[in-house]
Amino acid sequence: MASAQATIPTGPDVGETVPTFEASDHLGRTQTLSSLQGKNGLLLIFSRSVDW
């Protein structure tokens, strides 16, 4: 592991809106931000792979 690595990119900052997206989920349903979020928002997790 590099001892002094550059800060990694982390995408949209606090206060910014995230890009729109559309994706199939594991049950074959098409999902967007609107379909996923609750009335108070969403926790969106980016993971490496379920086969990791």
Binding site: M1, T7, I8, P9, T10, G11, P12, D13, V14, G15, E16, T17, V18, P19, F21, A23, S24, D25, H26, L27, G28, R29, Q31, L33, L36, Q37, G38, K39, N40, G41, L42, L43, L44, I45, F46, S47, R48, S49, V50, D51, W52
Partner: protein
Amino acid sequence: MQLERKRKELEEQGIGVAALTYDPAETLATFAERVDIGYPLLSDPGSEIIKRFGILNESVPTDHQFYGIPHPGEYWLDADGRVTAKFFEQSHQDRFTAGRTLVRLFDAEAGPSATRIETQHLTATAWASDEEVRGGNRIALVVDLELPEKMHVYAPSVEGYIPIDWQAEDVEGLDYFAVEYPEAQMLRLDAINETVPVYEGSLRLIRDVRLGQPDDLAHLVENGRVTLRGKLRYQACDDKVCYLPQTIDLEWTLGLESHDRMRVE
């Protein structure tokens, strides 16, 4: 799966949950069956969404088996799709838990494993943001204090009195972060013509602790559980009398999950 346990709390807060990987939908379907996940796993083959978010891990060569993985992390979004918080692993060591975020962003309540201590001056309830942890997790430890009417304790900035102080144990395998104390109230002591920073009523103290990797924690583990200890020192006074400073022992016992190799939580 840690997050699955928190999902009910998130639901109660009106917060949806979804995880995204570059796996094909079929792979996610097989995984979801095996692991019993109750929230959507989104398929992003080709990593288009990962790239659109700007979090593609570009240190992985394009011909590598794992090309397309993101820098793993999470966004907490409000109802307008605006980021309210985000947590990304800057190193392989930092894994914030959802429980910790719930405590810090959403004013969570003490869990079932909370321990309560009553002294003649106050009640202290010690609890952790997560009941089950894994090596590398960064969680929040909480001490909720309730003082009876007319009782106060002294805030850290006070002079001439013993300030409240939460001391963590110095133990290998645990990295404690600074305590966050709430803002003090200024109390006028007419009898001695002084104004002092105090806490009255209810207050919450929070500090993060990062658990080391399994090897570093091993010496702390008993029957699959790890106990964290601390001491709370304070001096209490009411409207008539100042009491002798007290030190109470605090304890948090956490279940240690074995390392599941699956990364989706």
